[in-house]
Symmetry: C2
Subunit: 409 residues, 2 copies
Amino acid sequence: MSKTLAVSPLALPLPELPVVGGVRFATAEAGIRYRGRTDVLLADFAPGTTVAGVFTRNKCPGAPITWCRDILPRGSARGLLVNAGNANVFNGASGAAAVRASAVAAARALTCTAEEIFLASTGVIGEPMPAEKITSVTDGLAARLSPDGWRAAASAIMTTDTFPKAATRTTMIGSTSVRISGIAKGSGMIAPDMATMLAFVVTDAAIPAPMLQTMLVQAIEPTFNCITVDSDTSTSDTVLLFATGSAGNAPIAHTKDLKAFRLALLGVLHDLAQMVIRDGEGARKLIEITVTGAVSRRSARRVGLAIANSPLVKTAVAGEDANWGRIVMAVGKAGEPAERDRLAVAVGGVWMAREGRVVDGYQEAPVVTHMRGSEIKIAVDLGMGRGSAVVWGCDLTHGYIDINGSYRS
Amino acid sequence: MSKTLAVSPLALPLPELPVVGGVRFATAEAGIRYRGRTDVLLADFAPGTTVAGVFTRNKCPGAPITWCRDILPRGSARGLLVNAGNANVFNGASGAAAVRASAVAAARALTCTAEEIFLASTGVIGEPMPAEKITSVTDGLAARLSPDGWRAAASAIMTTDTFPKAATRTTMIGSTSVRISGIAKGSGMIAPDMATMLAFVVTDAAIPAPMLQTMLVQAIEPTFNCITVDSDTSTSDTVLLFATGSAGNAPIAHTKDLKAFRLALLGVLHDLAQMVIRDGEGARKLIEITVTGAVSRRSARRVGLAIANSPLVKTAVAGEDANWGRIVMAVGKAGEPAERDRLAVAVGGVWMAREGRVVDGYQEAPVVTHMRGSEIKIAVDLGMGRGSAVVWGCDLTHGYIDINGSYRS
């Protein structure tokens, strides 16, 4: 992309990222699409590293998704190769060939098999992937691997992102201290139906792959699957979780030994998902939608996403208009069990409507003040049951149209 | 609304609207929300008029919707009362009382029962409905009813519309010439799930209500249910079809006697739906999406709507970018049966991608020229079956955000 985007007003600073045993990084300027910035990331994992992954549910996935799905059941990883600028989607046989060539080159550089190399690509869809630009840098990358490369890694995978995204936690497994750190990218084509963007998380814990996979799937649900920028599900969404085992914890006897780890993982994914939504294309306001009283958690999430994806709600938030009528409309169109006369709506903690009508003596002033802020809280109670969910979205502004009306130019 | 919107560049002129026997109109300035324009419409139907209707599937419908659903099974209509500026949605018991008061006032003015008066309201949600502003003008309206009032009627029901919308056809039932004319309003909160806006159609044919209802439901499917501006389903969507019987056709013996009528009705609804999409808020380009090769017509329609509702496709069209990658993404996220390697995409009649990759020797120039026009044609062949559908949408522009970021101000 030729133009530089202003950093999102909702950006968060990159946290301090400690070394995580068993993983090293290197980045390079391969010139796939961008100039004057890194666009390829190679990560190297210690022998014995296990892996879990979740991928887009889009029916037209990119070639790297197909590759990762094929090798994931083996459960082991030695390398990760990511590029920005070309998504390698809808490239037919040549896309698959580019994937294989890249995996083979990375495997040679890291002295492992191609089936131990995980791949991800992000960028334009439908343009031939210049694999030689990647394969020509893998040896150099392998020579420069460093355990301190987290920040550089987070930057190399950006596309329309306006700030790099990373999160970290330290927790315990038994008496062993373990770390979990992750990076993510994504700011458009974000909608829940799996990963919704690229995220790579590494822990130094020793955890068998099937256990890792179960924990990842569970942690995705209330984090990445509860954010939406524009309802558009990418063809390349990927979340990979690697466990290098370098921390040397004892083998996991019971899943309850992983209780603290599970919470820490949830924390890392939550932070990353929040950063993605805070970098929503053109976003100037973060929207947090709490839905209670639904017939189930799933129903609550769907109602929340109907609100978060409604262009009329999103533009109302952009215009700082506490237009609860549009929230009511969005609840009603979600297709989930709801009854007009049981519905209550609050903005900024002030209940504006209850039981099918505006609250008596409702005063708009505190809500108007809340709407001028950068973090907008909407609450909806359906009065139907006990299901609840929290989802996050962002406003729809001129910036979104500026960015997406000329992405390829 | 305080500001005046520029007329859509996609606007069509109002057609000549002949008198349709058995219906008369009057409009008034009731000052419900707007100043200096008409905002109430009263229509009077000849005794014996039958009626059919379809309404929003939104779970939070307006009070007039509830009223119309209740009286529709009677199958007969003597009046129609419509206001713009206040949707009378989410007003609880006072909303229902406002509806009843309006119906009673119109019934008194037209000398019929309240249950023969159909009502529709459009405008802001959740503001108390000032029924007295309507009931104070009904007697005056009844005194000024005219068979020539079509144009005035089309204007009185506008909200964010930038041009009035009407369509007409003349056809035969047996040896009798009959007319069908209709008006519509709507330019935002437009998504298929029934009517998607207000439309009122009148024919002078004599057709029993159950037959009329069946024809209306069938004709809605490929017309109003195949358009989308913003995926937001209104709480007030209503299509009503009245048959006054003034043409004096013989009783319908077989449904095949209505074949020509059915086509003419489809034509009127098609025209009205096209006008609504051409007045999509901020729209500068009409998008026609033809989906073929789906497993069913329903599946084709869903894929078409996923494309038409994708913010990334809509902004690409606004930016005149033939970004077929985003079309592929939208197909894949629709959740309908599709396979990447069978998929073909065309823009402006030029097939750009086939069998999971870009077409050999694809030349962008004619597509670029097409994208600069105001009517963009996208075709997708899924290669899965024989289901097909055509849907219509519009681009997403700064204008949409301008309009909806400040609607209530």
